[in-house]
Symmetry: C2
Subunit: 339 residues, 2 copies
C-alpha cells in the first residue's frame, strides 16, 4: 500500500493551491540582469535598484514613494536603511497590486551547483551534499538582498524559499509544490519573492529547481493576468544578440499543441526557426528553456512579455500599458496564445 | 460549513508531522548568547564560532574537522569562505547525528518588532505591515549568518523560516505548523535551522512566534532524546544572576500537571519559589517563558538542559555526557519529569 502511494505521488504532480485573490502579474527577475555575470556573487546594484523602483511604480498607485520597509543595517553601514518614523496613518500606501516575484541565480548559486553537480543528484556523495548546502546559502543570500531592495522602495516583500515551502521534484520536474503560503501571503497584501533553489528530488536525491520552472508552475495555478521576464537583452532574437545582424523577435504565437512560430517580424528563412543560444552561465537552460516555458504559459491564455530590465520598455509592460496593443516603439518579445 | 471549518481550525492545532528518524537533540541558540545585546544587529562572532564548533563535535563523530560547506563570499571579502576542493570521497564526513537547531533573535528583529508592534497584530496599519516586512528581513539575516557559521564547520545546515514553512498562529499560539519539510530535511541528513519569526495570525492578523514556542512544538512532535537551551548565563538562578548572592538552580522537577519545583540545591525559602526576570531585550518572555516552556517539554519525558553557550559545560551536555547522571562539577540547570 505504502509503495503504491509513493508511486502515485511520483507520477502525479501534487500541488496544494488556494489562490483566492486574482494575481495581476508574475515577474521573473533574470539572474543575468540583476547580477554581474562574470563576477562571483556580485549584484548589479544599479539595475536592481531601477527594477525595484519600476516594480514599485507598477504595484503601488500612490503618488510619491511610500516609506521604506528595510529597517536593517546593510553590511558595513552603521545606520539602518530606512526610517520607521516615516510611516504615517495614510493607509493608501498599503494598496499594493498582487504581484509575485521570482528570481534566478545569475552569479549566485551557479558556481556552487556546477562545482558539486547538485543538478545531477547523488546526494549521498559528500561533495554533492556540501554543494547542496553551499548552493542554498548562495541563492538565499541573493534572495535576501532582493527582498531588501524591494522593501527599501516600500514594497511589502517576503522572501520564500521553494525548499522551505515544501517544493520538491521527481526526475527534475515538480513532484510537489505547496502554494498555500504564497497564496496566503498575497491575500494579506504581501509580495512573495521566490527563487531558483536546490531542492530534494524523489528519484535522484536532489536537483536544481529553476526560476523558470517555478514561474510556469505558479502561472498554471494562480492564473495571473500576464507574466513578465526581465532579462539583460531586449528580448528574443533570431540569432545570438551579439551578432550584428541579429533581429529582435516582436511576437511569437503559440498553438493549442504548445508549438510556436514567429509572427512578427516576417523572417526571411521561411520556416521561422530561430537559432537558440544558452548563456554560458545559465546551467538551467538559457533562452531555449525560456521560450518553451513561455510557450507553456501562453498556452494557458496568459500573455508573456520578455523585455530588457530597467528600461522604459520594461516599465511600460509592468504598468500594464501593453495589455491591449503593442506600440511599434516598444522593444521586446510577446509570446501569445493564437488559439 | 465554511465557518465551522474555520472555527475548528482556530481551536485545534493543525500539525503536519512525519518524523521517521529519531531526533537526537533540539538545540536552542539563545539570541542573547549569539548576538551583542546592546548593539543593533551585531552577531557575537566569537560565541557563534565556538557554539558552531561544539555543535560540530556533538553531531559529527569523525576525527578532525570535516570540509566546510559555505562556499560563498562573506561581505567585504573577495574569497569564498571554504574550498570545495577539500571534499574527498570519504563518506564518513556525512555521518551527522540528527539535530534540529532553533535560534532566537537577540539584537536582530526585536527593534523592528517593538517599533511597529508586530506582536500586537493589526496588520492593516501601515506601520505594522512595514514592521512585519522589516522584522522578517532582520531575523532572516541572522538566520543566514548562523546557517553559514554552521556550514563553515562542516555541518550540513539548512535555513528554514517558520513563515515559509507554513506556520501560523491563532491568538499567538501555534494554529498550524507544517513539520514535514523539517522531517524530510533530517531524513536526508541535513540539520534544519529554524528561528523566531513574524508570522500570520488568524485572529489578530500577525504575531511574533518565539523560538521557545517553536522548540516546544518541535519537541512534542519529534520526541528528541533531549533538548538544550544555550544562553548567556550558567542556567536558571534563584534571583537575577547579576545579584551577588544569586544561586544557580541545578535541577527542577516537573510534575504530571506541569507544575515545577526546585529539587537541587535545597533553597532556604521553603516554598522553593524563585524570582523570575526577563532580560530587557527579550520581548518574547525571558526566563519565565523559558522555564514554563522547558517544563512543558520535560512533562513529555524529555530532559531539558539550560546551560551557558560556548563553555565546557555546554560541550558536555551537547555530547550527551550528562544523559545518565549529572556530575557535581557541571554548571547548568536540568529540567526533568518527576512522574
Amino acid at each position: 500500500m505504502e509503495e503504491e502511494k509513493n508511486l502515485y505521488q511520483t507520477e502525479q504532480q501534487s500541488t496544494i493551491s488556494s489562490f483566492t485573490k486574482p494575481i495581476r502579474c508574475i515577474v521573473k527577475l533574470g539572474g543575468a540582469a540583476i547580477t554581474c555575470k562574470n563576477e562571483l556573487e556580485k549584484i548589479n546594484e544599479e539595475v536592481l535598484q531601477k527594477v525595484s523602483a519600476q516594480l514599485r511604480q507598477a504595484m503601488i498607485a500612490s503618488s510619491g514613494k511610500p516609506p521604506g520597509m528595510d529597517w536593517s543595517k546593510r553590511p558595513g553601514k552603521s545606520e539602518i536603511s530606512c526610517n520607521p518614523d516615516d510611516f504615517g496613518e495614510d493607509h493608501s500606501v498599503l494598496d499594493c497590486s498582487p504581484f509575485i516575484v521570482v528570481h534566478g541565480a545569475g552569479s549566485f548559486g551557479h558556481f556552487q551547483a556546477s562545482k558539486s553537480g547538485v543538478h545531477k543528484g547523488q546526494l549521498q556523495k559528500p561533495l554533492v551534499k556540501g554543494g547542496f548546502v553551499a548552493t542554498r546559502i548562495s541563492v538565499t543570500t541573493l534572495n535576501l538582498e532582493i527582498v531588501r531592495a524591494l522593501a527599501r522602495e516600500g514594497i511589502p516583500s517576503i522572501g520564500m524559499s521553494p525548499f522551505s515551502c515544501g517544493w520538491f521534484t521527481s526526475k527534475k520536474n515538480i513532484a510537489s509544490a505547496d502554494l498555500s503560503m504564497v497564496a496566503k501571503a498575497t491575500d494579506f497584501g504581501f509580495i512573495p519573492v521566490l527563487h531558483g533553489d536546490a531542492v530534494l528530488d524523489e528519484t535522484q536525491g536532489c536537483a536544481i529547481l529553476s526560476g523558470d520552472v517555478i514561474i510556469s508552475h505558479l502561472a498554471a495555478h494562480s492564473k495571473p493576468e500576464f507574466v513578465v521576464f526581465l532579462t539583460d537583452v531586449y528580448g528574443v532574437y533570431d540569432r545570438p544578440p551579439t551578432e550584428p545582424d541579429a533581429i529582435l523577435i516582436r511576437e511569437i504565437a503559440v498553438g493549442e499543441d504548445g508549438s510556436w512560430a514567429v509572427v512578427k517580424p516576417k523572417l526571411q528563412n521561411s520556416n521561422n526557426k530561430i537559432e537558440l543560444t544558452a548563456a554560458a552561465h545559465d546551467t538551467t537552460g538559457g533562452m531555449a528553456t525560456k521560450i518553451s516555458e513561455a510557450a507553456m504559459i501562453a498556452k494557458l491564455g496568459i500573455d508573456v512579455y520578455i523585455v530588457k530590465a530597467a528600461t522604459s520598455h520594461s516599465l511600460r509592460v509592468l504598468n500594464g500599458e501593453l495589455r491591449s496593443s503593442i506600440p511599434d516603439d516598444w522593444l521586446g518579445t510577446v509570446v501569445r496564445f493564437s488559439g
